[in-house]
Every structure is written in structure tokens, then in C-alpha cells.
């Protein structure tokens, strides 16, 4: 009994953010990043790289519009190539943002409060990059609106039995809900910026964007309901999006695609590489902007653990992929896996095994999770590994399916690479623009983490 009592009276877990912060200093530190006239060289450099790559993207897109998708390496039978690989990769990266903002909110994981804002921004921009690829891949991108059902004189409609049309609905809903969730989260912080800026133009702009938010208790009460409801809606949504993306593959009868474990496998992979991206962004940002007190080593440690956990699910999926191929006793499934492991794409396959299965095992060690530089390197390894995974799934399955006479290999052209690097540029461009003009950490949610935010109740008389 005595022991139980001890457990119950154990002091609360240590505070998530560094001690010594007040409501005022938290507000000032986060808003100073935006409201200052000085821009760090790091920002200018990253924004510059992003902008240069964005120009490369525009160039390759103009060329694509002028000449057609033939500038890419897609030739029969591999018609999906880089475009769909990049689509799946980018969409997956977005998923960690929604996981942090919605699922961890529902699970009452309060540590998320200092990383959810930029993770949501990451989601939004990653989805923007992802959305580019299926459209550019259409062949006639200017007719992309044919994907939506609308009354037209041709009297034709999209095929609602096709997972590709489901994807249109899933991704556009995901983009809309992510944008709304992000904006709702920003409103109180926009009001803070409005009240703190000294520039008339900034006050007007932030004022319009804050919609007159004044922190009324009546508003907060509705606001809290709205956040919870949006989180509750975004949670099944985020799981559905990558599930639907995996349907693009599983519903086809291509060997190596046609399997039932793809949806959970894809969702886990998405969260895996999304957390890698969160770390890859958070680690440099917190040291450049001196935010180590708000995005602490505890956050990095937690993200590392989530990466390890989802990485293990992904590793399990790879094993299951081999097992089911053997267990189906289907010669085409056997061959698909065999080609993947020892065929023309073997080097990609074994690199992804290295990046996604072997490398993350080092995250078991606290020394690696506690070292930001190593963690950054590990995050990049996982990002590369997950890109390779999608590449191998898509290309190796299409290259060698049923008829050896119709086999053909995929060779990426420079425009494949230019478009891919270009979307990385678009992502960096948007992300660093966001860092400069909007608070990258949710100010009001960090305020709630401070010990003084707790209302001290007087002891009720016994």
C-alpha cells in the first residue's frame, strides 16, 4: 500500500521547456525572429538556394509544357518514374506535421506545442510540392481540371471507381484541412504580432490576418472546441491520405504492388520520413535562432524515438513483403521480389535497406539521439532512404512485370532531376518565407507550457 501511495504522489514530470521563461520573454523571443529588421545570413543563404532551385523548377516546367513529358525518362513500360516517386515522398513528409498537430494534440502530448507550428507549415508546403507532380505528369497539365467532376459540354465525368480519382479528393481535402488548421492555429499569434510590431504596414497586415482576435475568454472557449474537432477530423484524414495513395498501387495487378499490407506500410513510412524532415528542419533552426530553450533536446529525443518506432514498422513491412511474395506461391510475385533484390535495381534496394533498416537501429542509443549533429545526419539518411523506397517500389515493379518481352528499364534524365530538385527549392523558398514573416513556434501554446500558466487553486476546507 505504501508503495502505491508513493507512486500516486510522485511529482509531475519535469517541465518541457527550459526554466526561466516568462510569458513576456517567450512572446518576445519568438516574435523577435519575425519583427526584427536583421536577417541572419543563414536565412539569406537558405532562401537563396531555395530561390535558385525554384527558378530551375520553373525552367524545367516551362520546358515540360513546351515539349511534353518525353523530356523525362519515362518510357514504356515504366510510365510513372520520378514524378510519382516524388509525389509519394512529398505527401509522406507532410504526414508528420499533421501527426504532430492533430494526433499528438488528441493524445495530450504537450511537448508538441513548440514544434507543431513549423511542422504544420512543413505539411502545407510538402503537399504543395506533392500536388505538382501528378499534374505535371498528366501530359496535358492545362487540362488538370478534368480530374474534378463538373458539368461540361462533353458530358463526361471522372471514374469514381478509380483510386486515382480518390487520390484527387484525398489530397485536395488534405491540403484544404491542413491550411485551415494551420491558419486557425495562427490567429492568436497574428494578434500578438499585430500588438507588438512598430511598423504601420505590419500592424495593418497582421491585423487583417488576425481578424480582430482579442483573446476573449468566450472566443477561447469556442476556439478550444474548434481545435479539438479539427484535430479529430485531421487524424482519420491523415491516415486515409496515404492509404489512398497506397491504393494507387495495390488496386493495380502489377506484381510487387498488389498486396493488402500497403496501407499501414505506407502510413508508417510517411510518418517515418516526415519526422526525419521535422528533425532536419528543427535542428538547424533552433541553433541559428537561439531557440534551444523552446525546442529542447527532449523534443529531438522524442522525434528520434518516433523515427525509430516507425522505422521498425517499415522494416517489418519489408520482411512481410518478402514473406508474402514467397507465401503466395505466385511465380510473378517471386520474380518481382527477386528482381528487386538482385536485378537491375539491386543497388537502390540494398541502399534503402541500409538507410531505412540498418541506420535507424543506431537510434536505440541515447548518445545518438542526444547529439543534434548526428541526429541531423540520420534524418537526412532516412529521407534519402524513403525516397529510394518509393523509387524501388514504383520503378522496379513496372520495369519487369509479366512478359519478359515487354520489360524495359528506367533511366532518369537531367530534367527528372531538375524537376525533383526544383520542388525541393519550392519547399525551401516557401518554408524560409514562412520563417521570416510568421512565428515559427506557436507562441500561445508555448505560454501554456510555462509553470506560471497553471491556476493555483486554494485548498478547499476539509
Amino acid at each position: 500500500m505504501a508503495e502505491e501511495q508513493d507512486l500516486l504522489e510522485r511529482p509531475e514530470r519535469p517541465e518541457i521547456i527550459a526554466p526561466g521563461y516568462t510569458f513576456g520573454t517567450v512572446t518576445d523571443q519568438i516574435s523577435a525572429v519575425v519583427l526584427t529588421k536583421k536577417t541572419p545570413i543563414f536565412w539569406t543563404a537558405c532562401f537563396g538556394v531555395g530561390f535558385a532551385l525554384l527558378l530551375l523548377f520553373l525552367w524545367s516546367v516551362v520546358l515540360l509544357f513546351a515539349k511534353g513529358v518525353g523530356i523525362w525518362g519515362i518510357r514504356p513500360p515504366v510510365m510513372w518514374g520520378f514524378a510519382i516517386t516524388n509525389f509519394v515522398w512529398w505527401i509522406g513528409i507532410g504526414h508528420a506535421g499533421t501527426l504532430i498537430s492533430a494526433i499528438l494534440l488528441l493524445l495530450n502530448q504537450r511537448w508538441r506545442n513548440s514544434i507543431n507550428r513549423f511542422a504544420e507549415a512543413m505539411t502545407l508546403f510538402a503537399v504543395a510540392c506533392a500536388g505538382m507532380f501528378p499534374v505535371l505528369h498528366l501530359g496535358r497539365p492545362w487540362l488538370a481540371f478534368w480530374l474534378f467532376p463538373y458539368p461540361n459540354t462533353m458530358a463526361i465525368q471522372p471514374n469514381f471507381r478509380s483510386p486515382l480519382v480518390w487520390d484527387v479528393f484525398a489530397v485536395s481535402t488534405y491540403a484544404t484541412i491542413s491550411a485551415l488548421f494551420w491558419y486557425v492555429g495562427l490567429m492568436p499569434d497574428l494578434a500578438t504580432l499585430r500588438d507588438r510590431t512598430t511598423s504601420r504596414f505590419a500592424r495593418f497586415t497582421y491585423g487583417i490576418m488576425a481578424m480582430g482576435w482579442r483573446g476573449s475568454a468566450r472566443h477561447w472557449s469556442v476556439y478550444e472546441t474548434a481545435s479539438l474537432l479539427l484535430a479529430g477530423l485531421a487524424t482519420p484524414l491523415v491516415l486515409s491520405v496515404h492509404t489512398v495513395v497506397s491504393f494507387d498501387f495495390t488496386i493495380a495487378i502489377v506484381p510487387g504492388w498488389h498486396s493488402t499490407f500497403f496501407p499501414p506500410y505506407f502510413v508508417a513510412g510517411a510518418i517515418y520520413c516526415g519526422f526525419a524532415m521535422v528533425l532536419a528542419l528543427a535542428i538547424p533552426l533552433r541553433s541559428v535562432y537561439g531557440l534551444k530553450g523552446l525546442i529542447t533536446d527532449k523534443h529531438l529525443d522524442n522525434c528520434g524515438k518516433i523515427m525509430l518506432a516507425t522505422g521498425l514498422i517499415v522494416a517489418y513491412a519489408y520482411l512481410m513483403e518478402i514473406f508474402t511474395a514467397w507465401y503466395t506461391a505466385n511465380v510473378y510475385e517471386h520474380e518481382a521480389i527477386w528482381h528487386r533484390m538482385f536485378g537491375p535495381y539491386a543497388s537502390s534496394y540494398w541502399s534503402l535497406v541500409m538507410c531505412n533498416i540498418i541506420a535507424p537501429q543506431f537510434l536505440w542509443f541515447k548518445k545518438i539521439r542526444g547529439n543534434p549533429v548526428l541526429l541531423f545526419i540520420w534524418a537526412v539518411i532516412v529521407l534519402v532512404g524513403m525516397w529510394l523506397e518509393r523509387f524501388v517500389i514504383i520503378v522496379s515493379s513496372l520495369a519487369q512485370d509479366y512478359m519478359p518481352s515487354s520489360w524495359g528499364l528506367f533511366h532518369a534524365t537531367r530534367w527528372d532531376w531538375a524537376t525533383y530538385l526544383g520542388t525541393i527549392g519550392l519547399f525551401m523558398f516557401l518554408f524560409f518565407l514562412f520563417i521570416r514573416v510568421l512565428p515559427m513556434i506557436s507562441i500561445f501554446e508555448v505560454r501554456t507550457l510555462l509553470p506560471q500558466a497553471k491556476v493555483e487553486e486554494e485548498e478547499a476546507p476539509r
Binding site: D195, G215, S216, L230, V244, F444, Q452, A453
Partner: protein, 178 residues
């Protein structure tokens, strides 16, 4: 009781506990038209001001149901009536393949109703509000906590209400002009 031409009187506190205690005291005193302004949501304050019920969940539920029904009907209309495709004599009303889009439309409409419902219930956007006339109110989005008793309250009296707020040990009491 003298009618006044101000919006109300406002007391400023520097910590959430003081504000919650003040809000409780004001409720106990009989004031009903009061509102608090804080830099972050405070659960105890919602209790103290008796703000628990709002219609947002209902709005979201209705929005979600409408979205789901519209999503399903859209697909039914297109695949059965507008553009029927007979493939191997399979049924035109192929409901399992409608599930994904029905779900997505449900979430989309529910999410849109959550956001627009939030704005509607809060009366936002509202670029002007009398509280913005108080110079120190800019701190409500930083580190100060405000309690405002509005002039529309039946018990409101410019002098006495200010005096009452002074008894709650605020940092400052100020009048809110219209």
C-alpha cells in the same frame, strides 16, 4: 443606476490565478455581462465564467453529414444516372468504391464548418472592438490578463463597478471607451 456612455470597465492582472479569482468574485457579486481577455486559453476561466456550452460540435456534425451525403449522391448520380458504364454486367451502384470520396467529402465539409463556425460564433472578423481603445490592452496578447465588466450589465455602475474591481487587487483599472 446611471446609464453610461462607455463600453465597460476593465481590470488588469498579471497572473492567471488572480484573474480567475477575480472572475469568480465578479460572478458571485451578480455580474453577468463580463468577459476576460487572456494571452492563452485557461480552462478554469471557462468554468469561472460558465462558458461551457457552445454550438460548434453541432455545426460540425451537421456539416459533416451534409458533406457525406453530397459526396455519396455525387458519385451515385454520375455512375448510375449521368454516365453509366456497363462493365461485365457489374452493378452500376458500386457502393464500396464510393466510400473513400464519401469519407473525404465528410471530413472536408466538417472541417470547413468547424472553421467558419468558429468565426461565426466568435463574430470574427471584427477589426474594431472597444477594448482596443485601452492602451495597455495590447498586452492581452503578451503577458497580461484582463477582466472587463460591460456597461450593459444591469448591475453596472460606472463608479461602483470600478470600485469593486479595485477591491480585487488588480494592477490597474481603466474605463473602456466606445
Amino acid at each position: 443606476m446611471t446609464k453610461t456612455d462607455i463600453y465597460g470597465v476593465m481590470a488588469e492582472f498579471d497572473n492567471p490565478t488572480a484573474l480567475v479569482n477575480a472572475a469568480r468574485a465578479a460572478r458571485e457579486k451578480g455580474f453577468r455581462k463580463l468577459d476576460a481577455y487572456t494571452p492563452f486559453p485557461i480552462e478554469e476561466l471557462t468554468d469561472a465564467l460558465h462558458l461551457h456550452k457552445n454550438k460548434l460540435p453541432l455545426i460540425v456534425l451537421v456539416g459533416g453529414i451534409i458533406g457525406g451525403i453530397l459526396g455519396y449522391l455525387l458519385q451515385y448520380y454520375v455512375t448510375v444516372w449521368h454516365f453509366p458504364l456497363n462493365i461485365d454486367g457489374k452493378p452500376l451502384h458500386s457502393w464500396p468504391s464510393y466510400i473513400v470520396i464519401t469519407f473525404e467529402m465528410t471530413v472536408l465539409c466538417a472541417g470547413l464548418s468547424a472553421v467558419f463556425g468558429l468565426l461565426a460564433l466568435c463574430g470574427l472578423p471584427q477589426p474594431y472592438h472597444p477594448t482596443f481603445n485601452v492602451p495597455r490592452f495590447a498586452l492581452a496578447s503578451r503577458n497580461r490578463f484582463f477582466l472587463c465588466i460591460e456597461a450593459t450589465d444591469p448591475l453596472f455602475d460606472r463608479k461602483h463597478t470600478s470600485e469593486f474591481l479595485e477591491t480585487l487587487e488588480p494592477k490597474e483599472v481603466s474605463e473602456v471607451a466606445h
